[in-house]
């Protein structure tokens, strides 16, 4: 029985790092690579790993994202369990062939029924002025290439639990760490056996009137909106997906069947974002439970502006989320 009661207060990135250390201790096949890993990574996630595991298992690479990802795939094919930090989710596109063809499709193409563990860390989302090519939310890509798992933790506890799950998963995992949550703190279970299952959502707030589906950076904002709306007698149920592939539709659809009104909130751009797929599934599968169309609240369809004040206006705010919920309940 895993004791989750003992917890410690940790930052989100630090929790990821702790998960890496624990899994590297547990399994000699696990190693970490990326730019700046020896110095603890750009965002502190890998801090201290080289001290414990040496440069044999903590590798610095040059500025070669395609190579980093391809190397990860090759090492996984050869039976190792590599973790590559890509620096920014935006760089998924530099390593597109390596991630979305090689990692995703290798076993399928070759008819191989074998485990293949590889974790690709994509720091995603706005962090205050990093610009359109260092702030993208690219998590939808993993959903569109069958063969990959896609996770997006929203709390330090989930950051740790999902990283550990990813390293025990016999399939490649695209692990999207949320930049704007990097230094947020939370209670994190200390047990080295604490794992958050991939593919399981969490209902963070129960409610009867509206189902609000979200993940990552928008969970906090959705919760704040939910609190504000409670004083207006609007009862919002907030579901934190935690994983996008596989996606816990059972939890989502059970909720929508109860509330009859659904909305999806994410920081990624609206058009063809994860919300579009989720909305399509909701209306396909529980259409006759709906009182109103499924709404999406997401970033404006533009590359994010460089200026941080403009950038903030492009992504959903608490007020926008609440206003959308009000509109939905009035429909």
């Amino acid at each position: 029985m895993v004791n989750h009661r003992e917890t410690t207060s940790l930052g989100y990135n630090a929790a990821m790092g702790l998960a890496l250390a624990e899994e590297m201790r547990r399994d000699p096949g696990v190693f970490v690579l990326g730019q700046g890993m020896v110095n603890g990574g750009w965002f502190g996630t890998e801090r201290g790993l080289v001290n414990e595991f040496g440069t044999e298992r903590v590798l610095d690479t040059n500025i070669s994202e395609a190579f980093q990802a391809g190397l990860t795939a090759g090492a996984a094919i050869a039976g190792m369990k590599p973790v590559v930090n890509m620096g920014f989710g935006d760089f998924a596109l530099i390593a597109g062939d390596e991630i979305f063809h090689k990692l995703a499709k290798w076993r399928y193409m070759h008819g191989l029924e074998v485990p293949m563990t590889a974790v690709v860390i994509f720091p995603i989302g706005t962090m205050g002025g990093a610009g359109p090519e260092h702030s993208s939310c690219t998590e939808v890509l993993g959903m569109h290439f069958p063969g990959l798992r896609v996770v997006v933790p929203s709390t330090p506890s989930d950051a740790k639990g999902l990283m550990k799950a990813a390293l025990r998963e016999p399939n490649p995992v695209l692990y999207h760490s949320v930049q704007s949550l990097g230094w947020t703190k939370g209670e994190v279970p200390t047990s080295p056996d604490f794992v958050v299952p991939i593919g399981k959502a969490l209902v963070r707030r129960t409610g009867a009137d509206i189902t609000l589906v979200t993940y990552g950076s928008m969970v906090r904002r959705a919760m704040a909106a939910g609190e504000a709306l409670a004083s207006e007698s609007l009862d919002v149920e907030v579901i934190d997906l935690r994983s996008l592939a596989p996606l816990d539709y059972e939890t989502v659809l059970t909720s929508v069947t109860k509330t009859h009104r659904a909305m999806i909130v994410h920081e990624a751009v609206k058009t063809a974002g994860p919300g579009a797929e989720i909305a399509a599934q909701i209306q396909e599968r529980v259409f006759f439970e709906l009182e109103a169309p499924v709404m999406r609240v997401a970033a404006i369809d533009v590359p994010l502006p460089q200026q941080s004040s403009l950038e903030a206006l492009c992504i959903p705010s608490v007020e926008e989320i609440a206003a959308a919920a009000r509109e939905l309940s009035a429909t």
Binding site: H260, F287, F288, E289, L290, E291, A292
Partner: protein, 398 residues
């Protein structure tokens, strides 16, 4: 190409809400000017809405039970003699609509959940009462409950009626109460419940009035002949100018002393009692009043009253004496009025003329009843009014 005209609920004075009671014309049927198209129930009454000109009812847009507002679209009409085919094409065109806003105007939006619940309940979704132009799942559930309740009631009337105890073995014809009857029942019960009502009577010797009347009517054609009712109405109107407390409406904090006298004349029609209103009766002379009474009575019977002739009544005169030899004309007040004058039949009875001589003669006598709301009026006010009325009527023509 056939052009359709929108049929909307006409404005009727202050009325806002209108519940569709029933259509009287089927889709596709022609109608003439004046034919009743549909009935709506407002806060006041159940009203028939006639056609303003001839035509064909092309399509209905609201069904029985729909909660509507004045101005709402209830259907479309086509010009008379338009072929069924042309009408069908025009209807299809109108249903598609140039914009979604127009479409939503045409029929209430039904949510997917509502559609499913309706289907499961075996209901046509478009038959379900909408709230604000939308039909939601809860609206369907309410309809289902109401239908179940109504169905249970109907079934209980027909199969195992809630027959009053002790009457089980008495043979019976069950008559379904009309919507109007139920509306009347509701209103009267409410009136009695809310206002403590009493009735005071006086005896009026009509000898002089009848003589004056005979003289006035000599040489006049039928409709111009003045009725006794008109004389009474005139006298009552003049009295109300002096006794304004009887031309009023009561509320908890204030009493409304109306400045004009909108005289309601109760008319018995084939569909029941109607009380058309003659506005500003205080400014009408005897002949005018007589004409006005005759006209509203006629329109009441032909069901062509305007809405302003159905509302704003400040004092009602009821004339059951015209229907039969009824001795007393006590009535139930028409809220919010505080007084009602009821006229029984004229009787020829022996009365004492000169008390000091105890001379007795048979005279034509009318015993008007004044039913009043005791919250607003004291006995003294009523008796003074009736005394004045008696004197005016006994001196008529003098």
């Amino acid at each position: 190409m056939a052009e359709l005209k929108e049929l909307r609920i006409p404005h009727m004075g202050s009325v806002e809400n209108a519940r569709m009671v029933t259509w009287r014309i089927a889709e596709g049927s022609p109608f003439r000017e004046g034919d009743v198209l549909y009935e709506i129930e407002t806060d006041k009454t159940v009203t028939e809405v006639p056609a303003e000109s001839e035509g064909i009812l092309a399509r209905r847009a609201a069904e029985a039970g729909a909660e509507l507002k004045v101005g709402d679209l209830v259907g479309w009409t086509a010009r008379a003699n338009t072929s069924a085919g042309e009408i069908a094409i025009a209807v299809a065109r109108v249903s598609r609509g140039p914009s979604s806003a127009r479409v939503s105007e045409l029929a209430p939006r039904i949510s997917p959940r509502a559609r499913r619940l309706a289907k499961e309940a075996g209901l046509d979704p478009s038959q379900i009462a909408s709230s604000g132009g939308r039909i939601r799942g809860d609206d369907v559930l309410r309809s289902v409950n109401a239908a179940t309740t109504a169905q249970n009631q109907t079934h209980s009337e027909v199969r195992s009626p809630t027959t009053p105890s002790g009457y089980e073995s008495v043979p019976v014809d069950l008559v379904l109460n009309s919507t109007r009857r139920r509306a009347i029942a509701r209103r009267l019960s409410e009136s009695v419940r809310a206002a403590p009502q009493l009735t005071a009577d006086v005896q009026v010797d009509l000898t002089r009035l009848l003589a004056a009347r005979a003289g006035h009517n000599a040489g006049l054609a039928g409709p111009l002949k003045v009725s006794v009712l008109s004389y009474v109405a005139l006298a009552a109107t003049r009295m109300l100018l002096e006794h304004r407390a009887l031309n009023a409406a009561y509320s908890e904090t204030h009493t409304f002393h109306w400045r004009s006298i909108n005289l309601g004349i109760a008319v018995d029609t084939s569909e029941g009692l109607v009380v058309p209103v003659i506005r500003g009766a205080e400014s009408l002379g005897l002949s005018e009043l007589n004409t006005a009474i005759a006209e509203v009575a006629s329109r009441a019977r032909s069901r062509t009253l305007r809405q302003d002739e159905l509302e704003g009544c400040t004092f009602t005169i009821s004339n059951p004496g015209a229907l039969g030899p009824v001795l007393r004309a006590e009535a139930i007040l028409n809220p919010p009025q505080v007084a009602l004058l009821g006229l029984p039949a004229i009787q020829y009875v022996p009365i004492a003329l000169e008390p000091e001589n105890y001379r007795i003669e048979v005279r034509p006598v009318l015993r008007p009843s004044l039913t009043f709301d005791h919250r607003a009026l004291d006995g003294g006010q009523v008796i003074r009014f009736l005394s004045g009325l008696k004197e005016a009527l006994e001196q008529a023509g003098v």
